[in-house]
Symmetry: C2
Subunit: 281 residues, 2 copies
């Protein structure tokens, strides 16, 4: 299997702390030796660093850990291959354009009976079930909305419903971003946390590193992190349930289908609007 | 304007030497301060490093110069913006998937009267004439060949013919690669050189660096480099003419429309087959 890491923030934020924890699981504290990748959005553009080598030994991973690239939307992945060879074209995340936006996708899990899924003219380049599922989702999105849609929350709700089809084919934990929104879909292992003022200290599980977020942030910062397993051992991570999806926008969880979310009103989907701190936080 | 750099090789080769020369022109020996980017193919996959900051000051550019990434197909670009703001989404090269391959494009020049060109469902993300031209070319390619074609040389000949339409709209020097082939199209400034045994020494124009290729290569290596301006001052670079295109495959020029090319038979399009050394070399 693999591990996922995503971030959504209301101000450009570096992910060095969480990324350092994740990279240890790429062959050191975890078995995910078959490559790693990370995509940072900057405006409508993005930059991706990836490598089919184990992240704990990767020079590029070391460079990314030490060079604070700031972003409001990040998708990262470390791989333990099950479908498709260990090479660059099979290394997540995958990015494709749709509706004049770049969409980035990473998957944790394994699918069966997926080879006959119709991806239309969006063809996979590599051999993974993951990239094929991504191409299928993009094709479904384009069939449903041939012209660029205005209601992006509606788009993500549609994607969540289609993820239900993929869930029937195996394990499908996913992160998907268009650079503005970060969507998480869970079939078994996915956790999230939203950090906001008053900030405290956090300690990585996988490496002897503690960070004092108060020194690194301003009082208005809101940052959500989504991961396959919690990355810190002194914070409360929310565990997602099978079939649950969550949509993050500039740091806030703004939509989802978890039971608790329907008990409280959602904040409007724009930066600076605080979502209820309970039970989201 | 901008500067282009491309490479095609029959064995994975690092481009550190040529890239070091190009990066000096990004704000030091040249005025191209508005970003830089480089795409390396590895198999069917690729990795891109890019930055909207001047290359001569970029930490990522420094890292790429010092870390030898080996590839058989490379496309690079430094930018002096004329259409579209200085930001990541407007930074070349651009990469999109078509027919299950990743296509990478970089452009030097400036177009007029391009806004009404039909890009179909392949939409630009940024605001440059270059990305719009790329999307238009991809759409033309897909309209002409709805299913993945077998004859790739025929595809590039079709692209060269469509480049003639873009040439009518201004200056259009272009590099295009699918990871296996590297195509160059010229409207005014584009040079190329093929290096093969016996290798000699080369001295960069823009930086006080000399390389002895004999120490860095094996006798079977064949490497072609394409650039807006020659990068070395002690080698013979071939100048391309307006409307000329050249197609490189594993280091060799295998197709093109220059008059001299039609005087000699072409080598078959597979690695190891030597093209005639005169007048190509």
């Amino acid at each position: 299997m693999c591990e996922l890491l995503g971030m959504s923030a209301n101000v450009p934020t570096d992910i060095c702390f969480s990324f350092t924890g994740l990279m240890q699981r790429g062959g050191k504290t975890g078995p995910h030796r078959d490559g790693w990748g990370i995509t940072f959005y900057e405006g409508k553009g993005f930059r991706t660093f990836k490598d089919p080598n184990p992240s704990c030994q990767s020079k590029i991973a070391e460079w990314v850990q030490n060079y604070p690239i700031k972003s409001c939307a990040v998708v990262s992945h470390i791989r333990q291959a099950n479908r498709g060879g260990v090479n660059l074209e099979n290394t997540h995340p995958f990015t494709r354009e749709l509706w004049g936006r770049y969409w980035t996708f990473a998957h944790n899990g394994q699918l069966s009976g997926y080879l006959d899924m119709d991806t239309g003219r969006t063809r996979p380049v590599g051999q993974t079930d993951s990239e094929l599922a991504f191409c299928w989702l993009l094709n479904e999105m384009e069939e449903k909305f041939p012209e660029p849609p205005q209601d992006m929350i509606g788009v993500f709700q549609f994607v969540a419903a289609r993820c239900g089809v993929l869930k029937e084919k195996g394990v499908f934990n996913m992160l998907l971003s268009d650079g503005e929104y970060v969507m998480a879909y869970c079939t078994n292992h996915l956790y999230w946390i939203t950090r906001r003022a008053p900030f405290g200290k956090a300690t990585l599980i996988d490496e002897d590193v503690t960070i004092n977020f108060q020194e690194e942030t301003t009082p208005n910062d809101i940052v959500s992190v989504i991961a396959t397993q919690p990355l810190t051992d002194n914070e409360n991570w929310h565990r997602m349930k099978p079939g649950e999806y969550g949509l993050f926008h500039f740091g806030e969880l703004i939509d989802g289908n978890a039971a608790q979310l329907h008990d409280v009103p959602f904040a409007a989907a724009k930066p600076g609007n605080q979502a209820p701190t309970e039970p989201l936080e």
